[in-house]
């Protein structure tokens, strides 16, 4: 294994992206049909307006505090650090949020925006079901109609979350087109949006999609990084030496990374899902093994064949099973500010067990990828150095998947 020791990453100053058209260098932008442009302009205006509106921001703050349970703590995983040997590992506990993951930070924000815009119907796409649950939750709370598109394959794999969404009053629509997974659910949600433009708000769950979604979802998720910064300063007297987060679409990662981009001393690592191994082609690692193209409204790194047709992806974790990635990550990769690495299914599974066993924390399979990489990285670092891992979600939803893999009948 090559050394993981934090490499010198590029220094970035005056970081202020995206530009007005939603571009992060060559990435991002607005690549949608004319039929959607009107809605996107309307959304962008509302987003620009309300992100400056003290009343909106105060309501968001109150909800994050009283309903989500923020701030989430930063926890020093001493036993994990000792067992690993090397740097001290800290966990940002997004798993302790209401609904069990970081997803709700964004759905709360967008649902409040939808309400301000006078929309009465919410739609969303979901893969593992976490974003669907977080959306159905806020829709229930605000009394909005909610329709969640989910690949027929994923509905089979994630039945507890499907039931949860239905309990919350959402209609879960199976998507049978294409590969019947997350990307197809996104296609179907876009089709719904264009058909029901007048009363419908589309809550995208990650930092993908056309502008302003990558910037807006990031802005709602940077609460993770802003809190972490203060908490690490308070706990250790300085910033962490490295940040580690898993990257599917990349919303939990950008939420953690963004407030640290100009801090040269903080190394940033995004962990993609290597699935059965990047060399097998059965993975979800577009930043590590893809190339730039255009999908779902933005230009970014993608997994596609030589003709530009999007490839099917694989990961043990349904939440990382996506052939694209948020455009800001593509930019951070190209400018060398963040390094994107990968962890395969077996390594993630091992980290899942390790964290559960030594810390009494059951991590989501998505977050287990970040934990796995952090333990690799820690071994190359000194005992007085620190790594902050975004523990983006809890693993209760994954116990059926894991039991099945391990041949245990529940």
């Amino acid at each position: 294994m090559p050394t993981n020791k934090p490499q010198k990453q590029s220094k970035v100053t005056d970081y202020n992206l995206p530009d007005e058209q939603g571009h992060f260098g060559p990435y991002g932008g607005t690549f949608v049909a004319e039929t959607l442009m009107g809605s996107i302009e309307e959304l962008n205006e509302a987003y620009q307006k309300y992100m400056q509106d003290p009343e909106f921001l105060a309501e968001l703050d109150t909800d994050l505090h009283d309903y989500v349970g923020r701030p989430s703590p930063v926890y020093h995983a001493k036993r994990l650090s000792d067992e690993t040997g090397g740097a001290q590992i800290y966990l940002k506990r997004e798993d302790l949020n209401h609904t069990g993951a970081h997803k709700v930070n964004n759905t709360i924000g967008q649902a409040l925006l939808a309400k301000r815009m006078g929309k009465t119907r919410i739609i969303a796409e979901t893969g593992a079901g976490q974003h669907g649950v977080a959306t159905a939750t806020v829709a229930a709370r605000l009394g909005l109609e909610c329709v969640v598109y989910m690949g027929a394959e994923d509905i089979q794999r994630q039945s507890p979350n499907v039931y949860r969404m239905r309990l919350l009053g959402a209609e879960v629509v199976p998507v049978t087109s294409g590969s019947q997974t997350l990307k197809d659910a996104l296609n179907e949600a876009l089709r719904d949006w264009v058909t029901n433009i007048d009363n419908t708000y589309y809550i995208i769950g990650t930092v993908a999609g056309p502008h302003p979604y990558p910037a807006m979802v990031r802005d709602f998720q940077t609460i993770i990084g802003r809190e972490s910064r203060e908490q690490m300063l308070e706990k250790t007297g300085r910033l962490p030496d490295a940040l580690v987060a898993c990257v599917g679409g990349g919303s939990n990662a950008i939420g953690l990374f963004h407030p640290f981009i100009e801090d040269e001393e903080v190394a940033i690592y995004g962990v993609e899902a290597a699935g059965l191994g990047v060399e097998t082609g059965k993975h979800s690692a577009p930043l590590c093994a893809g190339k730039p193209g255009v999908l779902h409204g933005n230009r970014t790194y993608l997994m596609a064949d030589e003709d530009g047709e999007i490839l099917e992806t694989h990961s043990i974790s349904a939440g990382l099973d996506y052939p694209g990635v948020g455009p800001e990550h593509s930019w951070l990769k190209d400018i060398g500010r963040a390094e994107y690495v990968n962890i395969n299914d077996d390594e993630a599974l091992e980290a899942f067990h390790q964290l559960t066993r030594v810390e009494g924390i059951i991590p989501a399979l998505e977050s287990s990828h970040a934990v796995a990489y952090a333990t690799k990285l820690a071994k190359t670092m000194d005992k007085d150095q620190t790594i902050l891992v975004n523990l983006s979600g809890r693993g209760d939803k994954d116990i059926f998947t894991i039991a099945k893999i391990e041949g245990i009948e529940l």
Binding site: Q21, T35, G38, R191, T195, E309
Partner: protein, 269 residues
């Protein structure tokens, strides 16, 4: 004068409207598509839109989605579509051919390489669904170099500012999307279409073709009264799928539908 301009001029002189069929290239196979193109011209088509299949056709309804999946399963690709046009041109040098699809296959081929190959094959225009003018600068520069027409959509939600922006870069014709929704959806209402087309006409002298939701001769004739061209897509693909396994019957159904549309359109102009 380009093939597209000649086509619309000849139609205008004859007081006729353009009948523009859309089929997905390679559905169910390339040979069928090629033969179908000739047959559609015989049945009264003036311009042909060839759908370039894509794995993630976000603006299409289920009929064209499935057509794309069948075509991809049979190995069709952007290169394959260009090859079909090149073979079509061996016997038809008059009928304009437009490629309609999504951006990613073009991104992967490279703008310059794509435009050059398409122009050499005899493609006349390209409608890329998911690239608005705001993102089109480089692509339009490539089209200009090889004299291909960039064709853009306008929709019921396009406000005046967008109409102006789009007609300033569009060539060939404007494709007006008659409904809020995806291809093949229902409930085309003539009143709002008429009003919007009148609004667009105030800003451009380009011909306006109208599509999405044109299912039969009756709708086609009503649309022909409003616009300069009528696009029919999903209804033709349904002719293929309702005769799966019997390509000649599928072809006959396509020709019958187009003939009936042609007749109905000519009766009202």
């Amino acid at each position: 004068m380009s093939r597209l301009e000649q086509c619309f001029k000849a139609l205008k002189d004859a007081n006729k409207k353009a009948l523009i069929p859309f089929v997905t290239a390679g559905d169910p196979n390339a040979e069928f598509t090629l033969a179908c193109m000739y047959e559609m011209v015989k049945a009264g088509a003036n311009i042909i839109e060839l759908g370039v299949p894509f794995s993630d056709p976000m603006a299409d309804g289920p009929v064209i989605q499935k057509a794309s999946e069948r075509a991809l399963d049979n190995g069709m690709s952007l290169r394959g579509v260009i090859e079909i046009v090149s073979r079509f041109r061996e016997r038809d040098k008059i009928t304009p051919v437009i490629l309609m699809g999504y951006l990613n296959p073009i991104e992967f081929m490279g703008y310059e390489a794509f435009v050059q190959k398409a122009a050499e094959a005899g493609v006349d225009g390209v409608l890329t669904v998911d690239i608005p003018p705001e993102e089109s600068k480089d692509l339009i520069a490539a089209y200009d170099k090889y004299d291909l027409a960039p064709i853009f959509l306008l929709s019921p939600t396009s406000h005046e500012g967008r109409i102006k922006k789009i007609v300033s870069v569009a060539k060939g014709y404007i494709y007006y999307v008659s409904i809020k929704g995806v291809t093949g959806a229902g409930h085309l209402e003539l009143g709002p279409v008429q009003d919007k087309v009148a609004e667009i006409k105030q800003h451009t002298s380009l011909p306006i073709a109208i599509g999405f939701g044109v299912k039969n001769a009756d709708i086609a004739s009503n649309i022909a009264k409003i616009g300069d061209g009528v696009v029919v897509g999903s209804a033709l693909i349904e002719c293929i799928t309702s005769h799966t396994g019997n390509e000649s019957a599928g072809q006959q159904a396509i020709s019958d539908l187009l003939n009936s549309m042609r007749e109905a359109m000519d009766a009202v102009t």
